[in-house]
């Protein structure tokens, strides 16, 4: 309970400190507008140009980017500080956290308030609303529940990927570079039905970098394309569970890496 109280207080302080930097805050608001328009344009542009992509109805396809972005927005809001932490680690800041009587992971998450998550979530919610309103599916309680569970699973999976990279950052200075690439991959390839890609490439995005589990598989299961995703139906349907497991595994990896942390710059 005390941990929650501290987390809440620090978050409030963080939000206030965002207000302290006047230019920065106003700039963020202004740039947020450009960002929102761009993202919606990008997410919809290919879907409208290539109707029937991968044998999917375009209203169904829209569900993929909507799920992806909403899961991403949640990730940025709740666990997003794991992303881009590499530079922070390289500057030796983690040493300070190791001295305090609070788990390092929690301290990292409480570093600052993610103002940009507000923008991300706004766009994602709009996109999701658009996708649902165009959808011809029957959105009964079961479907809605599954969608919500999948969003949480997607958030955890993305968090797991970045936590793994962050763990690597504790040892390798180059890991930060991979984290930015990972974000780009998630953004660009997380939004299409992956069956348009050759089998090997699709396999890479399923088992190599498991971004298929974030939005593609859940959307396929929801829209009745669950049997032609290239993986067994049960595996596609178990996406949220994969997210949970991946996240737990990544936290174990983080803890292990932290125990083997030897510091930077000697």
């Amino acid at each position: 309970m005390n941990a929650v109280k501290i987390a809440w207080r620090v978050t409030r302080l963080n939000f206030r400190s965002q207000l302290e930097y006047r230019t920065e805050f106003l700039l963020m608001v202004a740039i947020g507008a450009i960002w929102q328009v761009s993202v919606i344009v990008f997410a919809t542009v290919l879907l409208t140009r290539f109707t029937g992509m991968g044998g999917w109805d375009s209203s169904d396809v829209l569900l993929i980017p909507a799920t992806r972005m909403l899961a991403h927005g949640l990730f940025v809001l709740v666990l997003g500080r794991m992303h881009g932490i590499g530079r922070f680690i390289q500057e030796g800041q983690i040493d300070v956290y190791l001295l305090r009587p609070m788990p390092v992971h929690r301290q990292v998450q409480l570093q600052y308030f993610p103002t940009n998550a507000i923008g991300d979530l706004t766009v994602a919610t709009g996109l999701m609303a658009g996708a649902l309103s165009r959808s011809h599916l029957d959105w009964n309680a079961g479907r809605v529940t599954y969608l919500v569970v999948c969003l949480v699973g997607g958030m955890l999976l993305e968090a797991a990927l970045f936590t793994a990279v962050a763990s690597a950052s504790l040892r390798f200075p180059t890991a930060d570079y991979w984290s930015r690439w990972l974000e780009e991959l998630l953004g660009t390839f997380g939004s299409y039905p992956l069956n348009v890609l050759p089998k090997a490439v699709g396999g890479f995005l399923t088992f190599g970098i498991p971004l298929a589990f974030v939005a593609y598989f859940p959307a396929a299961v929801l829209t009745g394309h669950g049997h032609d995703t290239g993986v067994p139906y049960w595996l596609a349907a178990a996406s949220p569970l994969i997210g949970v497991l991946a996240y737990l595994a990544s936290r174990l990896l983080w803890r292990w890496s932290l125990n083997h942390y030897t510091g930077v710059n000697g």
Partner: protein, 335 residues
Amino acid sequence: MIGSIEVRSLSRSFHTTVRRPGFTGALRSLVNPERAVKHAVSDISFDVAPGELLALLGPNGAGKSTTIKMLTGILTPTSGEARVAGVVPYEDRERNARNIGAVFGQRTQLWWDLPVRESFAILRDIYEVPGAEHAARLKEFDDILELSSFWDTRVRHLSLGQRVRCDLAAALLHDPPVVFLDEPTIGMDVVVKEQVREFLRHQVEQRGRTVLLTTHDMTEVERLAERVVLVNHGRLVLDGTLDEIRRKYGSTWQVRATLADAHTDVVPPPGITLLRQEGPQVVFGPDGPDAPTVHQALKAVIERYEVTGIAIDEADLEDVMRAAYVHAGPGAEGA
């Protein structure tokens, strides 16, 4: 004038935003920020002669760094004037840059990702130093600072002491007549500190460079500086030799005595004060304007107490500076 520094009525104030407390306060500051003026440096004047090493002293936040920034041309003064080697630094920054070298504490100017020697080469070409001269100077620096054992290492892998030694060398590679050092030995171990001091002494005595140094390390001041300038709250408090500071703020002598009986009730003779007492060890110093000379004090102590050992000391400079900082103005801390 080559190598001289002239500072005349130099002042610098900053505008800052006042942060209102609380959540609504933060929101109000966002919409309608309230400005305040802070005088970092007010009306400072002093001179440094060519080939002289001057220590600029003062508590944290006294205005030392601001002064150095104005003299290096990074900061323009609000009023007053400064000349460094005949150039007004903030008006002719690039010309001034060729005349000066600077090290700002732990901030490195070396290229993080490259071996140190590459950084030296970049600086050599930026300052247009002839190759032979560069090599000779590097050898001279290496003799004292022992750089060659690590100058093929990338900067990111250097220890603090190694990096600051490299930074010192980097700042002097283009043979500047004037050198500014803002807390150069902060955080270094005693061996490296001694090496850096020797290097600086060599640069002043053999190469005739003018050095302006800020530091909190009084040993350094005693070993290096004949003259010091003391600032506090942005104002110049004293410009003189170490002895003058000692006379003004410190006791001129200390008598350390070991009492035969540790339980003696120590009531010092008139004009003498008890500075410290630890068991049988007691330290006396002069008290007030009518304090006795060190000989009279010695006699008085021996007459009054039964002592098994006695010695005379010069006052500790740290004590003197503490007295000076406190004397120089109220609320010296956090100014």
